[in-house]
């Protein structure tokens, strides 16, 4: 290809002094100096978490303190990176929640595997697992990055319940046992 020599445009006087460029730069600087800061001084300052944010998956209890998970293992099945591992167990009949019959013996979520997709929350038929506001997980070892059942309930806390499905079941059973209700 042929080379086309292009004449450089000669600079004007103002351009040769560099002053307009310096001032326009300083204008931006001063403007930013008086504007409120747009960054956060993390970790002293924390962001406000918007609704629907998908943080660390946690297990929740209902307002009566019953653990909602019944270890149906649907989250374990649906989890794309296979981060969830559940060992199901039976609730003894004498227990106050004996009518629920089933609860997890162990519930582990490996946060090194979790991709925060929220499918576990979506699939949960008992509304027991939620991706809440917690976004920062750190640890010194791989083992520390696995959230066990106790930690999951600690992170999750209690959330309001719309249905009280199992309480209704219990009261129907009690009514039946005392001759009321059906059967």
């Amino acid at each position: 290809m042929a080379v086309l020599p292009v004449e450089r445009k000669p600079l004007s006087f103002a351009e040769r002094t560099y002053m307009p460029q310096i001032f326009s730069g300083l204008k931006t600087t001063f403007k930013r100096m008086i504007k409120p800061a747009e960054t956060l001084e993390y970790p002293e300052q924390r962001p406000t978490i918007p609704n629907g944010y998908r943080g660390v998956p946690t297990l929740v209890k209902d307002p009566h303190g019953r653990e909602k998970c019944v270890s149906c293992q649907l989250c374990e099945f649906v989890c794309p990176p296979k981060a969830i591992r559940i060992t199901p167990g039976e609730i003894p009949l004498e227990s106050p929640t004996g009518h629920v019959e089933k609860a997890p013996q162990a519930f582990d979520i490996d946060m090194l595997r979790c991709i925060y997709c929220g499918l576990c929350q979506e699939v949960c038929p008992e509304e027991a697992i939620f991706l809440q506001n917690q976004y920062s997980m750190s640890g010194y070892s791989r083992a520390e990055m696995v959230n066990h059942k106790d930690r999951l309930y600690e992170l999750g806390g209690t959330l309001p319940d719309k249905h009280y499905k199992w309480d209704k079941k219990k009261s129907a059973e009690d009514a039946a046992a005392h001759g009321g209700g059906h059967h």
Binding site: L74, P88, E101, P125, A172, G181, H182, H183
Partner: protein, 568 residues
């Protein structure tokens, strides 16, 4: 052999497709032959028909004939015989194929019927699928997906029925989930012959229960769990252990007796969770005994052998094979094979015996047969030892001949393939006189006394075949990886055979390679190969061994062979 009479065939038309089926076949089975699914709950191919679930309603029609002349009435539009469709649906399970029968399973009426039945069944259903063990293999779930309304019109309070009731030591009943199909009742009555279940109360209060003072505790009780189309009956052993959709299914064979019931091993990530029967109409139909379902527990026990040992010290496989080879060179070897070993292992054991010119023995285990699916011979594969030629006569429970040889000093080394020699009648003093080479799965007095120990695999950890009491060759597959430290029995045996033979040539230990020589050397097996052996097994010609005094009495699908002298 006399060929069974050919069944009379009748042609029926299902959803426009003609098929010839044996007379007496019901519509559900006939539809299955043309890959048309007729949903059902109460019908079970191996139980009587009661027709109480009403799920299999289909539309039925018969070719029209003139009432007076019996001449076919033709339809001028199609040029074919006119079909008189019945105005109301009929149940498929109790309708037998008759010539020219026409069935519609996809018409709007049938669809409406199914939706109606589903709605009734779901009215009082507790919808506790998240805690129900049947979820994933539940007919109610499947049919609700296909014919469910998707929402409930029932706003009244649902029935409350007993939950978590123990019907027996192995079966838990949840009455709320029960759809009253009565399969379990019919099974107990007709197959297990232990009529303990029944319905009490009426209408929507109907409840399944055991008769007062009785329990569902016969050795076949867990079959009721298998045939329960919903989650009403669950197994105490499998309850809440694992969801079925995680489990891998591997075909296997029950080893508790010579019946050789076909089974499925359900495992996840190398752990077995349950055993269930697999349908084989020639062996076990769709049943198996409860006792056989617990056999998977032998896989993970504390007394599993996990290290190769030479003179009590941990060693390596090849060192142990060399040590065995040294003992073989001194002569005086006897081989105690096992009726629990696979055909392939017995074949290699026979090769080992031939190479060493050693006598081979087997130990019999005789218990009480239950005339159903547990035979008197508690070894799964004594017939295999006959077929491979490891033994010529039936074994006895005690190794008296071997004991005498040891006392006489003729035997210096005993190779035991998983048999506990002390249980088979050898004294500790006799064991101390010889050096024992033990290849087995679990620790026992023999493995403790053995000079060389090879840790072997259980039936769930290897491939192989058994020959059951009918001389049916049946294969089992590896369901889970071998126990850490254990070696495939075939590898050990192949190495021992190579060490014992004068030429020292390698022997195939991989099952498919081994089968080429097995089939070539054993005429009874003909052209069978492991890979082309059907999953339901292959009946071998048993005439060479017909006159032997077998321990078995009649069981399901097994009749005692008439003694040859009786007819002569």
């Amino acid at each position: 052999m006399i060929a069974p009479p050919k069944p009379e065939l009748v042609t029926v038309n299902i959803d426009g497709r003609e098929i010839a089926v044996p007379k007496g076949t019901n519509i559900i089975e006939a539809a299955r032959m043309v890959s048309v699914d007729v949903p059902h709950y109460c019908y079970h191919p191996k139980l009587t028909v009661v027709g109480n679930c009403r799920m299999c309603l289909v539309e039925m029609g018969l070719p029209a004939v003139d009432p007076a002349t019996k001449a076919p009435i033709m339809d001028p539009a199609t040029g074919k015989q006119k079909i008189n469709w019945m105005p109301r649906p009929t149940i498929g399970c109790a309708t037998n194929a008759s010539p020219g029968l026409h069935i519609r399973t996809t018409s709007p009426m049938v669809k409406e019927c199914r939706e109606g039945v589903m709605e009734f069944l779901l009215i009082n259903h507790p919808l506790d699928c998240p805690i129900c063990d049947q979820a994933g293999e539940c007919k109610l779930q499947e049919q609700a997906t296909g014919y469910g309304r998707g929402y409930s019109r029932f706003i009244e309070q649902k029935n409350v029925k007993p939950k978590r009731t123990l019907l027996g030591p192995r079966v838990v009943l949840d009455d709320e989930r029960c759809v009253l199909c009565s399969r379990c009742i019919r099974f107990c009555k007709e197959v297990a012959k232990d009529d303990v279940l029944g319905f009490i109360d009426r209408g929507s209060y109907s409840t399944l229960t055991a008769y007062p003072g009785k329990k569902l505790e016969n050795n076949y009780s867990l079959n009721t769990v298998d045939i329960c189309p919903v989650g009403a009956l669950t197994s105490t052993d499998f309850r809440f252990k694992m969801r079925v959709w995680f489990l891998k299914q591997t075909n296997s064979i029950d080893t508790e007796s010579s019946v050789g019931a076909n089974t499925v091993v359900w495992s996840r990530e190398g752990v077995i969770y349950r055993l269930t029967p697999r349908r084989n109409d020639a062996v076990n139909d769709t049943w198996m005994a409860d006792s056989g379902r617990l056999l998977y527990k032998q896989v993970r026990t504390d007394d599993r052998l996990a290290t190769v040992q030479v003179n009590g010290a941990e060693s390596g496989r090849d060192i142990a094979v060399n040590a065995a080879s040294e003992r073989f060179k001194q002569g005086g070897v006897a081989i105690v094979g096992s009726g629990r070993s696979s055909v392939e292992e017995q074949f290699l054991a026979k090769k080992l015996a031939a190479a060493l010119k050693a006598p081979a023995y087997l130990v019999s285990r005789v218990g009480k047969g239950d005339n159903l699916l547990i035979s008197a011979d508690r070894n799964p594969n004594v017939r295999g030892a006959l077929v491979t030629g490891l033994i010529q006569t039936l074994p006895s429970a005690h190794l008296t001949e071997l004991a005498a040889s040891i006392d006489a000093g003729r035997i210096k080394t005993v190779v035991s393939l998983g048999e506990d020699l002390t249980a088979a009648g050898l004294s500790a003093a006799q064991l101390a006189k010889v050096s024992v080479i033990y290849l087995g799965t679990h620790a026992n007095p023999t493995s403790a006394a053995a000079k060389i120990v090879f840790p072997g695999l259980t039936v769930f950890e290897k491939n192989g075949t058994f020959v059951n009491q009918q001389f049916r060759l049946q294969k089992f597959h590896k369901a889970v990886p071998g126990f850490t430290g254990a070696i495939d029995d075939l590898t050990v045996l192949a190495k021992l055979v190579a060490a014992a033979s004068s030429s020292g040539t390698a022997v195939a230990s991989e099952i498919n390679a081994l089968w080429t020589s097995l089939a070539a050397e054993i005429p009874a097996l003909g052209t069978v190969l492991f890979k082309n052996l059907p999953e339901t097994g292959l009946l071998l010609d048993s005439t060479p061994w017909a006159g032997l005094p077998y321990a078995e009495s009649a069981t399901l699908h097994y009749q005692l062979a008439q003694p040859a002298l009786a007819t002569a």
